[in-house]
Symmetry: C2
């Protein structure tokens, strides 16, 4: 109950200690000594005292006065998901360079949570936001943009919005994967996806479909979309149907979680990879390299995607270029391993 004060020394303390005004100290410490034509000696005096008394400015007060909080808000789907925690780490590194800190929140794909997160982050005075937008959040995003709050989307975008974003080229991702399987000699190629209207999912499906059609394999196009919350049972059912009934020779899983569910299911169905069915995954843990059949997967250059997003946001914050609309698609890379190699060819 008795909260002892944390005896930090304030600007005032420091000024009193030296016997000058707060204005002076503030100017010196903010590197404006020259601009204010403050004498060398006074400046060094102030700097030394600041060091000796271990003065460090109260950023809250500074933020209130200048309107600059040096804080960035990050809203992801779930920080405990390795993909998003990797993004977080890269954002941390990039923003640390310019002395910003990031506060984060997980939306769990919920509109309500997204709204709450945006609100409190704004209340905390974030200078800008990096958001992995959930389905149906275009209204909120547009609103932010209209209020002239710096915001950039990552991982997903809304084509109808002129809000900057940085994403994987998801269309090319599944195009590459499908091409690779076709080149291997597979014809009956299926794809397992989520029920979702998000841009990344949509583009991944599109890349697959168009590639199939362009190779006159339209008759084999087969997309099974499962529930995002508990994919396992539905993935199992879908695979049973695709492999046992439709004779699918290869399956593309368009997220990491779907791949995990897929591998479990294929084991259960007693299907060997790639002998019974070839597999291509997405993103992927290094652990898939240790699998009995190392998994071919689409690699996302997360660092490039994220760095682009951060750079864009910083530009907006620093130069107020919120009207500048930048869209970035980073190209994927297909890592070919054992799981997608047609054994007949070997």
């Amino acid at each position: 109950m008795d909260e002892k004060p944390r005896d930090r020394v304030s600007l005032k303390d420091l000024a009193n200690h030296i016997g000058v005004s707060k204005t002076l100290v503030s100017a010196v410490l903010n590197g404006k000594a020259k601009q204010y034509r403050i004498s060398e000696e006074t400046a060094t005096l102030v700097k030394r005292a600041a060091r000796e008394l271990q003065y460090s400015p109260n950023m809250v007060a500074k933020g209130l006065r200048t309107g600059n909080s040096q804080l960035i808000g990050l809203i992801v789907t779930d920080i405990s998901n390795p993909f998003y925690s990797t993004i977080s780490r890269i954002i941390e590194n990039k923003t640390n360079e310019i002395n910003y800190k990031v506060i984060f929140g997980s939306s769990d794909e919920s509109l309500v949570k997204t709204r709450q997160l945006i609100d409190v982050m704004l209340d905390k005075g974030v200078a800008g936001l990096i958001i992995v937008p959930c389905e149906g959040s275009q209204g909120m995003i547009a609103e932010l943009h209209k209020k002239n709050i710096p915001v950039v989307l990552i991982d997903r975008y809304f084509p109808e919005l002129e809000v900057s974003y940085s994403c994987l080229n998801n269309f090319n991702a599944t195009k590459q994967a499908t091409m690779h399987l076709i080149e291997q000699g597979y014809r009956n190629i299926a794809l397992i996806s989520y029920k979702s209207g998000l841009s990344n999912i949509r583009d991944r499906i599109l890349g697959y479909k168009e590639t199939m059609n362009n190779h006159e394999l339209g008759e084999y196009v087969n997309v099974k979309s499962v529930n995002i919350d508990h994919p396992l049972p539905e993935v199992e059912k879908a695979l049973d149907y695709l492999v046992n009934r439709k004779n699918a020779e290869a399956v593309i899983f368009i997220t990491n979680a779907l791949l995990v569910a897929g591998l479990r299911s294929l084991n259960k169905l007693n299907k060997r990879i790639p002998d019974d069915v070839a597999v291509v995954g997405f993103y992927g843990s290094e652990l898939f390299d240790l699998y009995y059949s190392p998994i071919t997967y689409i690699k996302q250059p997360i660092d490039m995607i994220t760095e682009e997003a951060v750079n864009t946001l910083i530009d907006k914050i620093k130069y107020g270029e919120n009207r500048k609309f930048s869209k970035t698609f980073i190209e994927p890379e297909l890592i070919i391993q054992h799981s997608s190699i047609k054994m007949d060819n070997v």
Copy 2:
């Protein structure tokens, strides 16, 4: 360059709009209407206006005035590490309930970075800190505690410090693992560890050694400690030595990263699990269940460890109980799978 103002309505705006004082509005909105004996009608009037004008308080200003930032600082080793990102998520959930946000930082086991992170977090006015302390950081931690800043350690602790912490019972973790292997009939059991003086590593080694000694297997005690930065080559060398030269029948890997390196190495050395060598891991990804020999591992109840840490911190913040010293060890759980079963027994 022309930064448009973000036209948020302030307390003053709101007060002027209704035609009352800021004091009044502030009191009502903070639920102190009764305390200040403000009439029902005025109160409802204020509340309605607040809603209509979409007033939301500037937490920065509020924080400056009250000294309460509603911000918690979290310092982990690396936010992109799944173990720490899971911790982050749990902290997020717990703190959201009481309207706190968390700002995070990764120390990379570096004292310099830890120091920097602590400093800026303090500058940002965090109400308290949750820290995974790196080796040699006891000085900084002690300093924080002396300054009466609420801090609780997680995952690791310093026995010489009276600073609250919440950790796994690491001693029992390896004790359980070792016991299990002994019960299976293994005698020549080795352990692979990091070169580190951190409490969690130390306790894990201790649990193994004591258990071995208590079963008169002291002659087999064999701890190989590798460099934390690039474990793979050293793990491979260690395993070659342990298995091929010392005839180790079972190996305990005391972190997730070591296990991954271990599995890679055993593949390379053409050793089958558990036929040639039994394996027990730590923490563990769900992907290990999919391995050709599903891995036995020590499970950390991360949620319990983390929730305890958060609760402790919140108590300190709310009730100023920084003198209360709480140490918590959460018991591990051994998940027994295929990799540690002695085939002779089957």
